[in-house]
Symmetry: C2
Subunit: 154 residues, 2 copies
C-alpha cells in the first residue's frame, strides 16, 4: 500500500506544452466509484494496472496498485461502469517536481487537469505560470466522479 | 481470466466430515457487491487474493484472480463493506470431483454450503449422499449477497 498525496489544478493555457513529454494514452474504467472503495482498471500505454483507492483525508488517500496483464485489463473494461475515461497524460517538470497534465477526450473532451504528487501534505509547491485555480477539494474533478458526471454534461 | 463454472448445494448432515481435510480458514470482504462487477478481497490461510467476478450466465461467471500480499489484504479489509465473511472451507473428494464445504461463522453462523467446480456446464455430477437441495440459482446464497443480507437475519 502507498499513500497518495496529490494536489490538482485547472490549467489556464497551453504554455505547459513547451516543456511536456510526448504523452501517454490512458484508458481507465471503474468497477466501483463508491467513495472509500474506488476500484479502477487502467491501461497506461500497454501496461494494465488494477488500483484500489481508500477514503481521502484532505489531499491524501491510501492507494493499492497491482499490475495485471493487458489482456485482462481489456476484458475487465467490459465489466466497468460507462463511460470509460480516456485521456493523454503528459509529464511536465517544474521547479523540481513532475506535473502530470491530463487532456481528456471522449465524454470528458475539453477538460484539462494538472496534478502534482507530493511527499508530504505540507510540502511547498511552486506553481507554474499555467496553473489555474486549485480543485483538490472539488470532488467533481475526480476521475471516478467523471464517470457518473462527465465534463460534457456540466 | 478464467471461467468459473460452479454448482452449489445445501448440506443435509455432517457425514461429509468423515472424508474432509482439516479445513482452511477463509476471511473475505467486498469492495463491490454490484452484480456483474463484484470485487472480493480474500485471505485463505495466509494467502491474500483479489478477485473480480463478472456477470453470471447460468452457472458460469468470468473470474479474474490476482495474488496480493497478506498485509495488503488486511488493510483492504478496512475498506470493505461490513460484515466480512468468515468461514472454514473443507475439501471433500467424491466420485472424482473435489467438493468444497463452507462452514460459515460470524454473521452467517449456521450456514453450511457445498460447492463443486466443473469443467463444463453440462458435466454430469454424482451427488454425494449429504448433498441437499441445489441452490445454484438462488442469489441469496452468493457470498457477496451474504454481506448485505447475512444468514442470521433470514
Amino acid at each position: 500500500m502507498a499513500q497518495e498525496i496529490e494536489r490538482k489544478f485547472l490549467v489556464k493555457d497551453d504554455s505547459w506544452r513547451a516543456a511536456a513529454d510526448q504523452g501517454t494514452a490512458y484508458r481507465q474504467g471503474y468497477l466501483s466509484t463508491e467513495r472509500g472503495r474506488v476500484v479502477r482498471v487502467r491501461v497506461k500505454g500497454t501496461q494494465g494496472v488494477l488500483t484500489i483507492k481508500g477514503e481521502r483525508q484532505g489531499i491524501s488517500a491510501p492507494e493499492f496498485e497491482y499490475p495485471i496483464p493487458l489482456a485482462d485489463a481489456e476484458k475487465l473494461f467490459k465489466l466497468c461502469l460507462r463511460p470509460l475515461i480516456e485521456k493523454v497524460r503528459y509529464e511536465v517538470p517544474h521547479a523540481g517536481l513532475t506535473w502530470e497534465i491530463d487532456v481528456f477526450s471522449g465524454e470528458n473532451e475539453g477538460l484539462v487537469l494538472a496534478e502534482v504528487e507530493l511527499d508530504s501534505e505540507d510540502q511547498q509547491v511552486e506553481l507554474p505560470s499555467w496553473a489555474g485555480p486549485e480543485v483538490s477539494d472539488d470532488g467533481r474533478y475526480s476521475n471516478a466522479s467523471l464517470v457518473s458526471s462527465p465534463y460534457r454534461n456540466w
